[in-house]
């Protein structure tokens, strides 16, 4: 302890100040909330595959409005019920042959089709090209689901925000309304609305939107109740900010992850509902097609022409799986602490 070390001044060497200015700085770049979520999402292989699939389906379904192998509504009775035929492929199931009465026959020859005629996924009972029908049907299904979800989002978020923000009696009353709606089976509400509004794309969209907003409203309300106790909201209030502005500037950005996640879970259930209703026969009516009506048509001939149901079923299932996997991935990405 006793001996003192004496250091001469020239033992020190001044460092170049400009070089080490940042030595204390944390090196990772600042990430916004979205960038952070995207970084986590990218690590989830399943979610990325699902997202890619969804993009492909969207592009194909909506692109088919402009480029489609055939007109989805063009009836061609001569070529009715032709199985899939791929040019130059000889595997059974893709060579235009069918098992009829125990033996394989070339359905294209039997229909008197020229050798240049081929339908990738075959034709339906009216000779309409199944591939074009599926693309068209997917487009209708996706449109209904997305529009219904957007309406549901708009209504649910507004309702939830208002209810949570106001609190007290108004909140209590609005929650009772939700409870009442929630204790009626969704399907019953949808069916009643469709009956009153007449089956069609419009009514099915309204019906799905009307019956699915309650979950969104509840989630948003619960979160708003928490958020409105935060200091920054208090600060904004103290500064005299109007409620609407607080809602848009402070609440909505903080609710965005919940909204996005819930939206991604609502879309597949809307797709399911649309398919379900069309399958039962009270949804989209012909000549319009959706995945549900295609399944319904295909199911009638399933025993003899299984491809007519298999392809729409596969497309519907893949879309549903992709949406569910993607939604799961998004939930993990936005909220790493969430359950799951």
């Amino acid at each position: 302890m006793a001996d003192e070390v004496k250091l001469p001044a020239d033992a020190f060497e001044p460092l170049d100040k400009s070089k080490h200015l940042d030595s204390e700085k944390i090196s990772a770049p600042n990430l916004t909330f979205m960038q952070d979520a995207w970084r986590r999402l990218k690590k989830n292989k399943g979610a990325i595959i699902a997202m890619t699939l969804l993009i492909i389906f969207f592009v194909m379904a909506f692109g088919s409005a402009f480029i489609s192998p055939h007109n989805p509504n063009a009836v061609n009775p001569q070529y009715a019920n032709l199985p899939p035929k791929w040019p130059g492929v000889g595997i059974n199931g893709f060579n235009g042959t069918l098992v009829q009465a125990g033996s394989r026959v070339d359905a294209y020859k039997a229909a008197g089709a020229a050798s240049s005629v081929h339908y990738w996924l075959g034709t339906d009972y009216l000779g309409r090209d199944l591939l074009s029908r599926i693309l068209y049907g997917t487009r209708i299904s996706l449109t209904v689901a997305v529009v219904a979800t957007l309406v549901d989002l708009l209504f649910g978020v507004t309702f939830g925000l208002f209810s949570g923000w106001k609190g007290g009696r108004i909140d209590n009353f609005m929650q009772r309304i939700i409870e009442i709606i929630m204790s009626i089976p969704t399907l019953v509400v949808v069916v009643l609305l469709i009956l009153v509004l007449k089956p069609g794309m419009m009514s099915i969209t309204i019906a799905i939107a009307f019956s699915s907003w309650t979950t969104m409203a509840r989630l948003i309300r619960a979160q708003t109740l928490e958020l409105k106790e935060q200091e920054y909201v208090l600060a904004a209030k103290t500064l005299g900010e109007s409620s609407i502005k607080i809602a848009f500037k402070h609440l909505l950005p903080n609710l965005s992850s919940i909204i996005i996640i819930q939206t991604m879970f609502t879309i597949p259930s809307a797709i399911f509902f649309e398919a379900f209703l069309s399958y039962v026969g009270i949804g989209i009516s012909s000549p319009k097609a959706s995945l549900g009506t295609l399944l319904n048509d295909g199911q009638k001939n399933f025993q003899f022409l299984p491809y007519q149901m298999w392809y729409p079923a596969i497309v519907l299932s893949i879309i549903m799986i992709a949406f569910n996997v993607f939604a799961d991935g998004l939930r993990d990405a936005f909220d790493p602490q969430s359950k799951g």
């Binding site: 069916v191 009153v196 399958y279 026969g281 399933f302």
Partner: protein, 309 residues
């Protein structure tokens, strides 16, 4: 508790009343009468038929008569099957639906719990991935697609089970499987997330530190605590099964109320649509009420009286 129960039953009745009112006036908005060959009937005959159905009175009187009737179990007369009271149509068809629903609930929930728990215990292994894939498939593949595939491959191709109709236990197997797929997947996913949460909690650490066996910890502490919240998803699962039953009963020609509902919709049989709507809502409300009460009883952390917020 008693106060809570009374309050809940009051809300149940209020909701039921709203459902009755809304469906009644919605049905009144719709065109359509019980007359089939309207052109061939003289106005006097038409009047007689309408009178038989009670459709000649002003709407508000019809409404009061209807509401009074509902609380006496009288839902009017079916338009489709003349002279058949709707209450008879429903009571004769509710049995198969309830049976299928109960079977599907059991077949969905119990394996769902086992599979979900297995996924959580073996988290991040191939077992977990397999159970996750199975549950995603169960959620994503529509029940009616599954039903048609089961009917064709197991019923027709393999010939193991009857493809349709209603006769005995064998007839219920395929519809039950088709109905149970989605509740199974929902339960498995739910249990997995709950259990992963529970397994990370402090009391599990403590139980392990006490030197309990692995399975002792899982059974006595983890599984039991994850099971409590399952009660909360029984309601949504019941909705799921009700929805599914409409189309599954149709596919397998089960004489249940789901099949009746679809038939009534397609034939504009308004009294039956109204009655089935009310029955469905009542069933769901009762399920929700029971699950809420059960939840309060089995979970000491929840006190029903403190649910004001």
């Amino acid at each position: 508790m008693a106060k809570y129960l009374i309050k809940r039953i009051f809300y149940l009745l209020l909701t039921l009343f709203i459902v009755i009112t809304v469906t009644f006036f919605m049905m009144k908005l719709l065109p359509g009468t019980p007359l089939t060959n309207q052109q061939k009937l003289s106005p006097a005959q038409q009047h007689l038929i309408l009178k038989q159905y009670g459709l000649t009175k002003p709407v508000w009187q019809q409404y009061l008569i209807y509401v009074a009737g509902v609380f006496h179990g009288n839902f009017g007369t079916s338009f489709q099957f003349s002279d058949q009271p709707v209450s008879y149509l429903i009571s004769s068809r509710i049995g198969p639906s309830l049976l299928l629903g109960a079977q599907a609930m059991i077949l969905g929930v119990i394996p769902g719990i086992l599979v979900g728990a297995l996924g959580a215990i073996k988290k991040n292994t191939w077992v977990d991935s397999t159970t996750t894939i199975v549950s995603i498939l169960g959620i994503s593949i529509p029940s009616f697609v599954l039903a048609v595939l089961l009917q064709y491959y197991i019923g027709l191709k393999l010939g193991w089970l009857p493809i349709a109709d209603w006769g005995g236990f064998a007839y219920t197997i395929l519809p039950t499987i088709a109905l149970a797929a989605s509740p199974f997947a929902d339960t498995a996913r739910f249990i997995r997330t709950e259990m992963v949460d529970v397994l990370n909690s402090d009391y599990i650490e403590l139980a392990k530190a006490k030197g309990l066996s692995k399975w002792g910890v899982i059974y006595h502490h983890a599984l039991r605590n994850s099971l409590i919240p399952v009660v909360t998803i029984i309601g949504p699962l019941a909705v799921n099964i009700m929805t599914g039953s409409m189309v599954i009963e149709n596919i397998f020609s089960v004489p249940g109320i789901g099949e009746q509902f679809v038939k009534s919709i397609l034939t504009n049989d308004y009294p039956t649509i109204m009655a089935v709507t009310i029955v469905y809502s009542l069933m769901l409300m009762v399920v929700l009420l029971i699950t809420d009460i059960v939840y309060g009883i089995i979970d000491p952390r929840i006190r029903i009286t403190n649910t004001s917020k």
